[in-house]
Amino acid sequence: MTDLPLIGEAAAVAAHASGARGLAGARIGVVTFPGTLDDRDAARAVRLAGGTPVPLWHADTQLGDVDAVVIPGGFSYGDYLRAGAIARFAPLMSKIIDAANSDAKLPVLGICNGFQILTESHLLPGSMIKNDHLKFICRDQVLRVENNSTDWTGDYDAGQEITIPLKNQDGQYIADEKTLDALEAEGRVVFRYVGFNPNGSRRDIAGISNSAGNVVGLMPHPEHAVEVGFGPGSGLSGSAGNGGTDTDGLGFFTSVLNKLVGGAK
């Protein structure tokens, strides 16, 4: 199954993903929990980047034959208790946790609610609490790629600024000072908000990684910026003119595909 861009230049997407041509053999699992919203978008992003998305269900007891996993955004189990708190104990999550911590270092990307699940799973440190301004926020957000050596950021330049959508209520990243200092010292702050901190996150942190760099979590949504005509650069989403392109998020997915075949970096 293939997806061609609905409008715009197909070649633009193809060129962006050129490093990942011929990677259809790479299988990227996309997890669906009860309440997940962005699983289809994540699967489509994998496909547009050249890989093969594999749907995974939260109640599955086996991870199956996947080379990496995306835990997408939305909600999980109504986010009762705390965002991600119950999802963390789903049967599939224990398999993902084991695989991420194993010698094979399964690449795992957690987006928004997926990031919350990764912190509740202790795959990533810290936690997310309600936005400091208490409102749901949805905007095109500029991020700086602070670390381009993780499994999910190899196709970006260090210090590159990208624009992708952000939409959350519980997006304020917090951790104690010691943890924050350690994250900074070890280069594990992978993304930082630029120009505007949308939720009060400590030290403008938008995303972090584990020490091995195979597990990455972030609040904004790269899977919503993978297609010409439907991303933040198109001016169609309410906050035009911020300098981003429509496909700034595609690099997450091409990065992991290139990593899986021992590619570019």
């Binding site: 705390r82 936690s127 309600k130 936005n131 400091d132 301004h133 208490l134 917090i174 104690d176 009060g200």
Partner: protein, 83 residues
């Protein structure tokens, strides 16, 4: 039937955005005597039968592993309430 009550509060050093919103709303209703509000959670775990030490220990473990997140919250109370 006895219940085990578990109280969970945001850690003192963590800003509680919900508490902040509530303390802002109080004076608008004429409640002027309060300078700060922190909002926590109360869980009531019903036990069929007697609350043994083993069950209480389970409740304490559940409080630390599932009911609270030690990064942002403290379990401030675990107690048995009869009837």
């Amino acid at each position: 039937m006895p219940r085990i009550v578990v109280d969970v509060m945001p850690k003192p050093e963590i800003l509680d955005p919900q508490g902040k919103a509530i303390v802002g709303a109080l004076p608008r209703l004429g409640f002027n005597g309060f300078s700060a509000v922190r909002q926590g959670k109360r869980f009531e775990l019903t036990v069929d039968g007697e609350v043994t030490d083993a069950i209480l220990a389970q409740a304490r473990e559940a409080a630390e592993t599932l009911l609270s997140n030690p990064v942002i919250e403290d379990v401030v109370n675990v107690e048995v309430v009869e009837a």
